[in-house]
Amino acid sequence: MDENFQEEFTQIIKFEPPLYKQRYQFVKDLVEKYKPKKVADLGCADCSLLWMLKFCSCIEVLAGLDICANVMKEKMHILSPLPVDYLQPSERSLTVTLHHGSVAHKDPCMLGFDLVTCIELIEHLEESELKKFPEVVFGFMAPSIVVISTPNSEFNSLLPRVMLYRHPDHKFEWNQAQFQGWALETARCYGYSVEFTGVGHPPTGMEKVGFCTQIGVFVRKYSQTGESVQSEKPMEAVYKTVFKAVYPSLKDEKYLQNAVINEVIFTAQIIKHRLMSKREEYGDDPERKSKFQPSMDCFSDYLGKVVVEKNMEPFISGNEVHIPLTTIFSFPKVNRLCGTFEKLCKLIAGKVTLSSDGSAVMFNIEHENEEN
């Protein structure tokens, strides 16, 4: 955050939206374009980029890595699932993990990612770390795409408060030629193509200084054949996991079953309710009758159609209300959740009271409304 603050502080040039937001938006746009399933953010700091990315519905695995555990821990709980995620589990599965460790070390937990982002990371690396960095990220992790952003030192002349570097922890700041030279060499070495761009446009007339933040997008040239690379030697875990959150998802049988049971019983209750109130008529209250209008609710229209179809009609016999599973299955929500009728039967088996032949949900209405 310190750096973000720094750049906004300059008086001559002010970016709108702030530059850090532009960098995050750049990553988000990239995610929208390539739809990666597994994304890792190296140097994730206070997790704000990860927090933005957790809302991207294509991502199923999110990982963050930082050399400083405390800065991650401070706000890591923003990555936890929300109560609503439990109430309405989503279709996709999502696991968020935070690791404490260095980008100069290899750890098997970083294998198999589609996108690795290194936003304002490399300029914090000591020379020895920077040397190992390409081998770890491009050689070992070898994701399909790598994004690297770093300050463009040519722009510093426009930032009057910057003395040497934009942040005291920066070990170096490269000009465009330096960054591109390093990037091209790295790309060549590990079989990637690289394209250069950036965020933070220079003022008119000064275009040649380039973007304030320079960005390289690396795309792996060949699809992964590197089983051999990974299985060369069994790796030992060197990172320490500091946080892990598994989001509730309908892919998890437990949540799916719960959702289906809830939906089945609720749907059946509505049908029962309508069935019973039809039987009772509205005669007891003229005020209600006069104001009662055919509802515009699509739900009731839908119900009207379903009930007309043969063999699917719910009925009351004695103290029992029977609501055929086929009727319930024809409701869009139930249908979408289960996919097939067999799956519906399987999921609710033993959890919902059914008629003796198992074809209908059954309610006993004998004891209802007793003390109302």
């Binding site: 310190d2 720094q6 709108e16 939206p17 809302f55 991207c56 519905s57 709980h77 936890s80 699932p81 929300l82 109560p83 609503v84 439990y86 109430l87 309405q88 408060r161 003395m163 040497l164 942040h167 005291p168 719960n258 049971i261 809830n262 939906e263 089945v264 019983i265 609720f266 209750q269 007891d284 209250d285 003229p286 005020e287 209600r288 104001k291 009662f292 209008q293 509802s295 515009m296 609710d297 739900f299 009731s300 209802e368 409304n369 003390e371 109302n372």
Partner: protein
Amino acid sequence: SQVTELFSRTRNGEDVKITVTLTNELPPTSPTCLQFYNIIFRRLLKMLNLQQIGRNYYNPSDPVSIPNHRLMVWLGFTSSILQYEENIMLCADVSHKVLRGETVLDTMHSLHSQVGEERFRDTCAKELIGLIVLTKYNNRTYRIDDIDWDNSPKSTFRKSDGSEMSFVEYYRKQYNIEISDWMQPVLISQMKRKRGNIQGSVALIPELCSLTGLTDKMRNDFNMMKDLAIHTRLPPEQRQRELGRLLNYIQKDDNVQKELRNWGLSFDYKSVSFTGRVVQGEKIFQSGTMFDYNPQFADWTKETRGVPLIRSVPMDSWLLIYTRRNYDVANTLLQSLFKVTPSMGIHMNRPSMIEVDDRTEAYLRVLQQRVTPDVNIVFCILSSSRKDKYDAIKKYLCTDCPIPSQCVLACTLSKPQTIMTVATKIALQMNCKMGGELWSVEIPLKQVMIVGIDCYHDTVSGKQSIAGFVASLNQTVTRWFSRCVVQSRGQELVDGIKTCLQTALRNWSKWNKCLPSRIFVYRDGVGDGQLNTLVNYEVPQFLDCLKSIGTDYSPRLTVIVVKKRVGARFFAEIGGGLKNPPPGTVVDTVVTRPEWYDFFIVSQTVKNGCVAPTHYNVVYDTSQLKPDHVQRLTYKLCHMYYNWSGIIRVPAPCQYAHKLAFLVGQSIHREPNLMLSDRLYYL
């Protein structure tokens, strides 16, 4: 004093020297430290992966779902660390959060299909305003204060940088959320004072909000509450077990233990155990007879049967109004009343039986034509629980034409197996409404006036607050003077209460031919945050009021703040197990506060779950009575609520004040006619 010097360098390369001087040490019992302990404890709960909803933390991994009503219940904990009599202690309790598996938009859809277009907006306002919602995208809770039907997700709002953006666009950009229904209205939530006194409102999209808690409608749904109670009403043993689990988690979790060690804090993992007292049961007096009740049930419904009332008011002239459908019900009721009233000593004539159409106007017309000043009471049998009809009847008979009234739903009277019980209860209730007295307990203090005050805050319009004020009129505290104050927003309730106290004193002196020498005020409806205002502002106003009566008049005054919503739960160790403490249990050591004169009384009994103690805080006292006597008097007053032949949770004047404020706030909306003020017409 001790000085530490530190050196650092800013981003711009300037060297900075930081000097830290020890000026003061916070004792572990200082308010700042206590606040700090609470923060740490809440952090521990977070570390245990509990989810914060509102103020408390809940366990999301093991929810109980009640699909019949689309409800989900999360088990969680309330926690507060405070300085108690001798020690700093953690007061923890099991808490249940009711969550709803549907969005506000889902609820709006089903309301629409239930009530139709015409009443849709009103119904939404009634059902939704005041509820707490969770959003899909952050971990905050919001209260719905209003529904803006003129706006939709397509509407734009001004962002902090000044640019305009539509909600649809905002949620898409910020959270990748696509709003599917672009026609829905927008919910408005008023922000409480946050950073820098900024007051504003937040707009929320119904589709993105999940409901929490229960609506009034759900609370009235007997079946739903029954289903819920199974999960939420934990008996003492089970409650203790759940709490034990929390402590166990804390004890077993390495990270949590490390955190505690880092702060140098530790816990005793046992709950505190101490000795309480059980005051003796009261004898109930009812015209010449006296009886005890079974302390286990704290109820004398059986014992009172067939015993004449202290004062019965004859029903010489009364009206019975019903619709054609309910003709039979009306007759059954009448027969039953004729059977039960003689043994109570109530003389009853045949009423004027009046048949009406089931419309509000029809009821009102009959009332206007047939209610004359000599009518004792008006009885209306209603065929549905439609609030507008009830409100109209009550409003007319409480303000324009002050006559006691009794409204009963036809379905309550339609079950042959319960009709006698129901008729008995109705007869007693009507008798109280006409100024009758049922039973009494011994009140050893002489010349005492007991006052009860409670408030009702209108959640729907948010405009009115109503204070109910009730004061005893006689030595046996069986007759009450009742008034209320209707206050619009921004006014202070206490000005009105002062007037009430003055008239109450005048009436007391009329009844007793002198002024009371002792006054006890039981003040309910005070939030923790308002306690100081009460002590610094309201109590001096009471004193002023007493002074204004006469220079030589200085009665002894005791002001007691009554609090029903307390976190503390007491379990009695009986026969090796944990049970609910018996009614009359008084606790005034260990878990009370050193800075207060306070105590707990468990007065009522419960069938399921844990009994909740009531907290009493004596904020002003010149009575010179021993605490024991104040406690005994308080407990005695819990026996005097005439709508329940048993002991209740609060002193009767508080419950009367509550009933009055509720009726006025819900149905009447202005001060009832003072002609009624010497009767419990609002029961």
